[in-house]
Symmetry: C2
Subunit: 394 residues, 2 copies
Amino acid sequence: MKPGSVGYVTPQSMRFDEPLVLASGASIAGYDLTYETYGKLDADRLNAVLICHALNASHHVAGAYVERPEQVGWWDNMVGPGKPVDTDRFFVIGVNNLGSCFGSTGPMSINPATNQPYGAAFPVVTVEDWVAAQARLADRLGIERFAAVMGGSLGGMQALAWAIRYPQRIGHCIAIATTPKLSAQNIAFNDVARTAIQSDPDFHGGDYYAWKTVPRRGLRVARMIGHITYLSSDDMAERFGRARRHKSGDDDYTFGYGIEFEIESYLRHQGDKFAEYFDANTYLLITRVLDYFDPARAHGGDLAAALAPATCRFLLVSFTTDWRFPPERTREIVSALVAHQRDVVYAEIDAANGHDAFLLSDERYHRVVAAYFENIARELAAPPAAEPAARAAA
Amino acid sequence: MKPGSVGYVTPQSMRFDEPLVLASGASIAGYDLTYETYGKLDADRLNAVLICHALNASHHVAGAYVERPEQVGWWDNMVGPGKPVDTDRFFVIGVNNLGSCFGSTGPMSINPATNQPYGAAFPVVTVEDWVAAQARLADRLGIERFAAVMGGSLGGMQALAWAIRYPQRIGHCIAIATTPKLSAQNIAFNDVARTAIQSDPDFHGGDYYAWKTVPRRGLRVARMIGHITYLSSDDMAERFGRARRHKSGDDDYTFGYGIEFEIESYLRHQGDKFAEYFDANTYLLITRVLDYFDPARAHGGDLAAALAPATCRFLLVSFTTDWRFPPERTREIVSALVAHQRDVVYAEIDAANGHDAFLLSDERYHRVVAAYFENIARELAAPPAAEPAARAAA
């Protein structure tokens, strides 16, 4: 695994004029998807890997932009030449999901029915809707079948939905730090975040674009709450502990309600940064996408039944200190797959960084992913006739 | 342990005209403390038990008010005739702390210097300041020494501070579901709650009384966050799971951002209720009291050194699913006390209800507390000469 970068990249946009009927029954008349690609699609078009993003990320998975070289892709440590998802071997696609705020059609976009931004009128979508939109993008890019669909957290949910919905179009499902459904506590945190946004007077019921306001205060609180759930308590203790921000001469407390501890400074800074670039309606939408994901629901809660259509192979990874989507949740998926004798590799990584670990460069974690992708590459390089035999033996 | 209630009770108020110099260096010119008592003080005045409250509770520990019979004290299951803290044997005192909003002097009270409510001008107090104010109340009630000082969560911190600061005035320290100091994660949750309140436009920098507003939206979010941390994830899963609030005919999602799940309904209701009765400045103040508690701080982080002055005996209780103040935190206190060969009883209760367990009627928990108080009662009934001998043997 050599270090390397995909270098400078340029986002692209694809227009879809055929309406997309959503899980809710509503439909989006037409839409754009913003995406990036890294590496080269082979002549046989079998080496494509789709990377699905989580709550606040985007199509910008790897590399940098010429005009903003510091803005490196969110999974740049994972995707690139010689990296675990090796762009010397794979053609990697990152796509911004419908309803997000980084170029694809979402609440900030103009609603053709009103010539105003969608705002609150943008329909609630689901993981399955996203996957349907991604499949259309694959069609247009001439990709019949992905070597792998991969994602962490909410991205992992999309990978699972691909495995269920398009079993013939996905060779491997790589789902990291994810869950088959949110717990009551997960939903609770999302709902507090939504309540903070909705109760910001600058929110105007979601139509704040018309008022030329941004519900920054609500977004800030929402992000601060989210951020706490991404880190482990031990990691926070290690990184911040009770360290003080402004030490006075005698090291006494300030006895006020401003920033006293480093952790407060860090969290407020994270909240402020987030409120500058993220759209509040998108935050509402994507937290709802998370809440609603529950493939077992249509099967009376039977996850194995929900996963029965999947025929691909699976790599599942969880992290010991992830209390947002703890290893138990991933083990539920493993058990459900094993019940159908699916081919599953499961790695539980002893990492300190909580849910955030999926974005970090833990060596063991990256080695597992790299080894898994080496196997995929070997499989693709093998003469096509050999593949079904290998499958049957697995 | 027979069931029983202390019956109807009447809060009382005590005026203190001598200024109280606070840990911050500021002082409060004069103040009132609201308190309640249950049971009878013995002629020798040795059977008094002080109960210290946590964030949102008050002096109203047990019994009910004639005019509001439904408003039962917050620890009514613990304190009463035949209950673990048996008011047939003990004289129990509940006191509303300085800066709280249930009768004692706090941010809502009139600042004699301005003839306006204190608001943002109310000084930040500490656990130690509270304990000093409680000691003055004890003086006025003619109580030289408490048989026990007892509390859960923030109340447990006060019990610990009593043991350290007034070793001669406390026979037993009973600290439940508490911690020797907040973790970075604990502080983080408090800070998000404060940020929610401070960024509510109705907060007006803490002087909302003058504006005749109440930062209800901020308080609501603050309480929702707090509430999540009081319950265990498993308990939430058990009680709410992914149950839906409004089931439509076909059991489909509503595809909106209103209340979809039971847990959302529950949390928002808790938030709304809280915002009706709790003062926002008090919320800021009491979360800061929590943040600042750290008796080891003055001893270079050495908790054993901080606890060295304590000579009383200790009952410490923690709950397995409490992730706010988990058992490890209480075990730190146990270790520090054992280092000084103090007499400690420690019970780790296998309870499902997270931090909230300290308020609930878990049978094993209540049996531990009841047995401990029976010993205290026996000790008090023994001829005084026997006591020092028993001590030395312990």
